[in-house]
């Protein structure tokens, strides 16, 4: 199938950038990234600069691919990362607009690659559990209620790709932070540091320049892992509780 691609090209963070149009010959079995590989091979053959885009596992679990396809992070397919989006969902002759994630906290490095280290700094601020890892504990030595384990697991499905920020009209990172706070705080090992975690991660999130959540739920709609905004309500609760009861600095 012949496709027309309008791709955001930007040489460097300081470059102004702009769209360039390309023609590519793809087939329906390719993933979206493989289709871009085909384009890049063609560009290399023509001695042009290939399109920079991020990818790693290409099986929808690493959270590395980050592009906005026709106005939607990870493209039109629900609950699917860009690498798992297949060209069979497109028709011959279609035009596809590909842009990087847009957020002040995610500056463009080059073309479709953005710097998402703000997320790493949020994790550093509190997205961890301070226990010594030793030998694997005995099974069932720490009872966890099934319902809570399921909620924690659903939140832990977050791959930290940043699609929530890209989708949010306010570029808010609340879904990401709430998923991490939920996944750790719902389990007994993480409960111990729940207050400090909520305060520190929110403080870091605010410092990074993300917008404020206004409950649009675009994040959940575009999340490739379908993380629910119920987690945002849980983060709000955790934050209020921590601010009021904890001795930690707000």
């Amino acid at each position: 199938m012949k496709l027309t691609l309008k791709i955001w090209r930007q040489k460097s963070p300081a470059d102004k950038g702009g769209f360039q149009t390309y023609q590519v010959e793809a087939n329906e079995h390719m993933s979206f990234l493989e289709m871009l590989d085909v384009l890049n091979e063609e560009l290399v053959r023509r001695k042009e600069e290939p399109v920079a885009f991020e990818h790693d596992c290409r099986e929808g679990i690493c959270g590395t691919c980050s592009m906005v396809i026709d106005g939607q992070p990870h493209g039109p397919q629900a609950a699917t990362t860009a690498c798992q989006l297949h060209m069979r969902h497109y028709r011959e002759g279609e035009t596809i607009v590909i842009e990087p994630f847009r957020a002040r906290a995610f500056p463009v490095i080059k073309d479709l690659v953005v710097d998402r280290s703000a997320f790493d700094r949020i994790i550093q601020a509190g997205g961890y559990i301070s226990v010594n890892t030793g030998q694997a504990p005995d099974g069932n030595s720490l009872p966890v209620e099934k319902d809570k384990a399921s909620l924690a697991f659903e939140a832990a499905a977050c791959i930290g790709c940043g699609a929530c920020v890209a989708a949010c009209p306010n570029a808010s990172a609340m879904l990401f932070v709430s998923a991490k706070v939920s996944h750790l705080g719902l389990l007994p090992q993480g409960e111990v540091e729940a207050d400090a975690r909520a305060l520190q991660m929110v403080r870091q999130m605010d410092a990074e320049g993300f917008g404020r959540c206004s409950n649009v739920t675009a994040c959940e709609a575009e999340c490739p892992k379908q993380i629910s905004v119920e987690n945002i309500a849980r983060l709000n609760r955790a934050y209020y509780r921590a601010a009021i009861q904890s001795d930690k600095v707000v």
Binding site: K6, D70, E99, Q124, S172, G209
Partner: protein, 246 residues
């Protein structure tokens, strides 16, 4: 930019008290919007209960007595100062959040914009700022037309049964405004905007409070939508009734 991957962004803790820091954090700012919004939602019910007395066929006696009660009762007066403060706080905080959220996208916006939402439409939730500004302009005109006239004491007085002394005739002032088709249209349109603002605002306020649960969120959504339709509708019926039937 890539090299700072493992460097913690320096955070300067302000010298504000913990409470100020809490209220100015991203979640704290939303809490302010939520609580002031819920207060205004409650106020709408009280306001509506008063307004519906305009529909009594008693030449405005009940409404005029109610208007005097609302302007003289010390408890109501105290609450009204809270109300003014919360209206201004909700507006000011909303404008701050609006500006902050617009800048959070960065210098370049998307060429193709498509904002989806879960179980609702993003059309309203992404336009709360605009809807809010329209409501604020409406409020200024509305307060000038009725509230200020009452406060200035420039309204003619009438005798009403149930009061020994004459009371300000707010009813006639309302009657005159509602006989003007331009104002009737203006009031009805403003109520549509209030309804749209509430459509998102009601349920959103509860989500911000952290009240989201499979057990009761469907009920909050239902009540919120019923409220967003019924309350503005009942408000809007009054000028329509005055214009066409009185």
């Amino acid at each position: 930019m890539v090299n700072n991957l493992l460097l913690q962004a320096p955070i300067k803790l302000s010298t504000m008290s913990w409470f100020s820091r809490f209220l100015t954090s991203s979640i704290g700012q939303k809490l302010v919007m939520s609580l002031t919004g819920l207060f205004l939602i409650l106020f709408l019910i009280v306001h509506l209960a008063g307004n519906l007395q305009l529909l009594y066929q008693d030449g405005g006696a009940a409404f005029n007595l109610y208007a005097r009660f609302m302007t003289t009762n010390p408890l109501i007066k105290t609450t009204s100062y809270l109300l003014y403060f919360f209206i201004l706080l909700h507006t000011w905080q909303g404008l701050l959040l609006w500006r902050m959220n617009r800048s959070a996208r960065g210098r370049q916006d998307y060429a193709v914009k498509r904002t989806k939402a879960v179980g609702t439409s993003a059309v309203l939730s992404t336009r709360m700022g605009w809807l809010g500004i329209v409501i604020f302009v409406f409020l200024v005109i509305h307060l000038y037309q009725f509230w200020l006239q009452m406060k200035l004491g420039v309204l003619p007085q009438v005798d009403v049964p149930g009061s020994d002394e004459p009371v300000d005739d707010l009813y006639t002032a309302v009657y005159n405004v509602y006989k003007n088709p331009a104002f009737v249209l203006f009031y009805v349109m403003a109520m549509v905007v209030v309804g749209l603002h509430l459509w998102h605002g009601f349920a959103s306020a509860f989500q911000t409070l952290g009240l989201n649960h499979r057990k009761y969120t469907p009920a909050i959504r239902f009540v919120g939508r019923a409220y967003a339709i019924l309350v503005p509708l009942l408000f809007a019926i009054i000028p329509i009734y005055f214009y066409f039937f009185l």
